[in-house]
Symmetry: C2
């Protein structure tokens, strides 16, 4: 475990976030607290329900706490309205704790739009950042590619893309240990002249930014791992991410279709299954430690609605890493050094 | 074979289009002419080089012709400049033949931008169509999904998206035999309120268009086959298409990586390979009959630069189908019936 700061890191987990809440977030929190004593895991949500899940596990953990919150944000709540409508939501209470220095980070597998809006409103943004961004880790031949933005802002401005590039680059460097990470701008051709209005306006600014910018990359470069960080607006990024997530569904369907052709085929697919599962592991979002929300003046790790306890645990560990490595301080430092604060 | 018109269909093949020209286009043309006598295949390009390839095959085909053209468009030529710079290119000569009614369709695996610009300039557009569109067939759980546009126009206007939807819908109905094909607008959520400036402006117009519009679809719906036709602007579509094409590369890499772990793994992957190849066939663009360029007042079928002779042959058959089924007349008819001509 990374140990830049000596103290305990306190992670507030939105116990009501995700399709299988409170069960999965609570189970994930228990696993994280059991495996790693350098953490304090704080489950935020309806006390009774949370304690019921804990009781079934028959565990006593001094580094697992419960903080009550009687409301919660659902997947159907409008991110714009729910902040005022449900002031005592588990999400809001968890973020208030971070604001009041009772927690160091938030983990939520809930309504992504709501996590974004609540985090921005509760924590504010890092000085010099105009828009927070949600990143995603996609599988690649080289390991993985980080894509920013995957849905925080549709209709980005060119300067937003530059912010994503700087933040994504720092995230890649410290969290993914990439030395001088390569940053590419997603477009429709490698040539500098190819792109849409937004990308053509952004490329000049990216060339001057304090990053290792390699120019335009194409859709195929994400899975091929040509660069470490791919920058695009949230509309494109969200569509790409959801497409990548569906590759596994199509593949599983094709395997099933084949296995239904006959007895031999069924046995054969059954034999191949374990190997294929290992090979395709990277396409499974359960394996990832959630997606970071970068640019807010605090730490929010967002998970897929279908996150398993294992995925929640990985998100908690990721949140700890971001806290210990002081990613936000590193972003601020680069912005200051390059006089990008007062724009 | 479809037989709405009784006469021979004449397909002009750009013999210098693609990474393996003239060899692959010539071989594909020979295969098509051999297999199907209802076709006349006209190879356009440097006569001597084409005849050399034909001579090696030792075939005599009365329905295979060669028309000389001394220049050709390369992958590096700028689509904007090459039209004037190389008036005698194989692409331009082939399209001139179509304009002068000496050919019914063009097939080219060459520079996509040049095929688009030459086709638009030589053939003009269907009355009522403001922008031509390039489509792509992506694999899906239901078979395949057609995506328009995949790169003809970046920075589309909302009315362009409506044109793509009408043309794509007709293409799906007649070529893919889909009864009342479902059309979806690519966006970042199913809700009507989710999208970017372009998609939000387009959705109202699409709801009124003469198509079976089902609303917004997400990135995951393409491979899941939720709808038959997906509409998006060319920037997003191009990125998606290239990403989908790269899925196979990543998968092959993962298989190779696994097989290099040891002797047993190598044998095991070797055993699985045939089955996987069959299952993943749909991700292979070689299997497709090229992508149609819809909206021009003629027929242009565009192929991948790496098209094999088999892919070229399929493109020739696709061109014939589009000609025999009179897809352009059907588009014009719908536009006229819905008073969409004089806008």
């Amino acid at each position: 475990m990374v140990q830049e700061k000596e103290n305990i890191v306190r992670i507030a987990v939105d116990a009501m976030g995700g399709d299988f809440a409170p069960e999965y977030p609570v189970l994930g929190a228990i696993e994280a607290a059991q495996e790693h004593k350098g953490l304090e895991v704080i489950l935020v949500g309806p006390e009774k329900e949370i304690n019921d899940v804990i009781a079934k596990q028959n565990v006593q953990l001094s580094n697992l706490k419960v903080v009550n919150a009687d409301e919660w944000v659902t997947m159907d709540d409008s991110p714009a309205d729910v902040f005022k409508a449900k002031p005592n939501s588990s999400l809001n209470v968890a973020l208030k704790m971070q604001r009041e220095k009772q927690a160091d980070a938030l983990v939520s597998a809930g309504n992504t739009g709501a996590v974004l809006s609540h985090s921005t409103l509760r924590l504010g943004r890092i000085q010099g950042i105009g828009r927070a961004t949600i990143g995603a880790e996609l599988p690649s031949i080289k390991g993985s590619t980080l894509v920013f933005d995957v849905g925080a802002t549709v209709d980005c401005r060119p300067d937003h893309l530059v912010e994503y590039a700087i933040m994504g680059s720092i995230f890649s460097k410290y969290i993914y240990k990439k030395d001088n990470p390569k940053v590419g701008l997603l477009s429709i051709g490698e040539e500098r002249s190819k792109g849409n209005e937004l990308s053509l306006a952004a490329i000049e600014m990216l060339e001057k930014a304090p990053i290792n910018f390699v120019g335009n990359v194409e859709g195929g470069d994400i899975l091929r791992g040509t660069v470490d960080v791919v920058i695009c607006d949230g509309y494109v990024g969200n569509i790409l991410l959801k497409m990548a997530e569906s590759v596994l569904d199509l593949f599983k369907f094709k395997l099933r279709e084949y296995s239904e052709k006959g007895f031999f085929q069924k046995i054969w697919i059954g034999m191949m299954y374990g190997t294929l599962k290992r090979i395709l592991k990277k396409f499974d979002y359960q394996e990832q430690g959630g997606t970071p929300l970068l640019g807010v003046n605090g730490i929010s790790i967002i998970g897929h609605g279908k996150s398993t306890p294992y995925a929640i645990k990985k998100m908690i560990f990721r949140a700890e890493e971001v806290s210990r490595l002081e990613i936000n301080n590193k972003i601020e430092k680069v912005l200051k050094e390059n006089k990008l604060i007062n724009k």
